[in-house]
């Protein structure tokens, strides 16, 4: 399996493209880190890869086919701000229940405790919510994970807990990853390939 961005151009405002003819391929056995200066459009590229935006031109292809428009998307995104990725008015366990075919081993592996289920996001720390978000992105149908600064706001112990689990799980299930992180130490540790992007 491979996830491809083919010659994509995209911007949020007319005539002001943020990404200009960007191409990139991630294979299922790879963890590709994207490294670029602030404001380059890394998050935008992530959103495109996960199907949250439509490129102006070019294509996002999963094994040569466009991403499905309906149902569970095989490309799942984990966000930088977990507390903004969940509905604050819904108990976190109910949010997680919306994720199809979730393996209970994932929940256990992430160290999610049963009594967190009844809490609202406001009653959990960022690291705890992020574990739920990661679990929710690891439903049975996931083929690729897009991780946009998923551990920048976590402490080092939580960071290594989460990453150690992610590395083992994605290797076991052959899930490819695109990773954005500003920490070189972290990308050197977790990525199999690093792509440095620069303005032309």
């Amino acid at each position: 399996m491979r996830l491809e961005a083919k010659d994509i151009t995209f911007g949020y405002e007319k005539d002001r493209p943020i990404l200009n003819r960007v191409s990139l391929t991630v294979r299922e056995t790879e963890r590709v880190a994207l490294s670029a200066p602030s404001g380059f459009g890394k998050t935008t590229l992530c959103r495109l890869l996960a199907g949250y935006e439509e490129p102006w031109s070019g294509q996002i292809l999963l094994d040569g086919r466009p991403l499905p428009k309906k149902g569970y998307c095989p490309v799942q995104m984990i966000w930088q701000h977990p507390e903004r990725a969940v509905d604050p008015a819904i108990r976190i366990g109910d949010t997680l229940a919306q994720c199809p075919d979730l393996d209970p081993a994932v929940i256990e592996g992430l160290g999610i405790e049963k009594d967190w289920y009844h809490r609202f996001p406001g009653e959990l720390s960022g690291g705890e919510i992020q574990r739920f978000c990661i679990a929710a992105a690891l439903g049975g149908g996931t083929r690729f994970l897009i991780a946009d600064e998923i551990s920048t706001m976590l402490d080092l112990i939580t960071q290594s807990q989460i990453w150690c689990f992610l590395l083992a799980e994605t290797e076991k299930r052959k899930i490819g990853m695109a990773i954005v992180s500003h920490s070189e130490d972290l990308t050197n540790r977790v990525a199999t390939r690093i792509i440095r992007m620069d303005r032309r």
């Binding site: 200066p37 602030s38 404001g39 720390s125 690291g127 920048t152 080092l156």
Partner: protein
């Protein structure tokens, strides 16, 4: 150790929140207990610790920005003067500036240039703002943008510029670097350093220990709402010179070092264990960890752990100062 003049001194700070549970039943949540930190002139003190350990609350407590249901005990003084609610209101934004954690602290309806200038339009302010923009490689036309038009990293730089616009004595920076690329993050750190070197203080709240180690003078380590250790930056070179088991675990989790995870999570405020909050995850824990744990001074730092041998016991916050030298 050379005695420096204190800018910020926090002694035995306790913060609790009163919350309604079901119906009218109220519970008191102790989120910060017995927390002590001080920042001297020319110093950068980094506060590091797990997420949810109360780091941001500390910043908000100093600035008097806590919500109404918070109870605060303990002493906070600024340049030897006790900080009262009125005094904070006079000082904040002038002598004490906050670099907030979230970009949502910007006014969404105001152009960022004017926000950095604090709405002033005089020539000096404009010049200073333009220089700050130049320093942080923000294009001058950025001044005419609204916050929603900025990238995360640009907004961060606006927040930094905004704090440096005044000439404060103390900057409290609450996670100033996430979203900045490495050169910019280092630039921000270097600016804090030169700001401190002019005789000012910086309380740098972060979990990016590696970055903090590059600029800070001392590191205060938080866990579950209390200071477990205060260490010198040089103590982080080796695991053995660190004092508390939590700090050692943090050290082993550095991506550059072991990248070692630790089982379990920080206890939730409602079910905090008695005594040491780290005991449930600690390999050295024993029954004595459930009792009162005194703060000890050792080799230029402090530690709160019964397993730590050596050092001198500090009884309460007041005596701490005389023992420190």
């Amino acid at each position: 150790m050379e005695k420096t003049k204190e800018i910020l001194n926090i002694e035995d700070l306790c913060i609790s929140f009163e919350q309604y549970e079901k119906g009218l039943r109220r519970v008191e949540l102790n989120v910060i207990t017995n927390l002590s930190v001080n920042v001297g002139e020319g110093e950068i003190v980094a506060v590091v610790g797990s997420s949810g350990s109360g780091k941001s609350l500390l910043a908000h407590a100093v600035l008097g920005l806590l919500p109404k249901n918070a109870n605060v005990r303990g002493r906070v003084s600024f340049r030897g003067e006790l900080l009262t609610a009125e005094r904070i209101r006079e000082l904040r934004g002038k002598e004490i500036c906050l670099v907030p954690q979230s970009v949502s602290y910007l006014d969404p309806l105001m152009k960022v240039g004017a926000q950095v200038r604090h709405s002033r339009g005089d020539e000096d302010s404009i010049k200073r703002q333009e220089r700050l923009f130049g320093d942080y490689s923000l294009k001058q036309k950025t001044a005419g943008l609204y916050p929603f038009e900025l990238s995360g990293g640009m907004a961060r730089r606006i927040l930094l510029a905004s704090a440096l616009m005044e000439s404060p004595k103390l900057i409290i920076a609450d996670e100033p670097t996430p979203g900045l690329d490495l050169p910019l993050a280092k630039k921000a750190m270097a600016d804090f350093r030169s700001f401190a070197d002019e005789g000012n203080g910086v309380l740098l709240i972060t979990h990016d220990i590696e970055l903090a180690l590059e600029v800070a003078d001392r590191i205060a380590v938080f866990y579950a709402g209390t200071t477990v250790e205060e260490a010198l930056v040089s103590d982080f070179e080796r695991e053995e010179t660190l004092r508390h088991p939590y700090t050692k675990a943090l050290w082993r989790a550095f991506p550059r070092r072991g990248f070692q995870a630790l089982d379990g999570v920080q206890p939730y405020v409602k079910d905090m264990p008695a005594g040491c909050p780290f005991a449930p995850r600690c390999g050295l824990a024993g029954p004595e960890c459930a009792g009162e744990i005194p703060l000890r001074a050792a080799a230029g730092g402090t530690v709160r752990c019964v397993r730590f041998s050596g050092g001198e016991e500090i009884n309460g916050g007041k005596e701490a100062k005389s023992n420190e030298a």
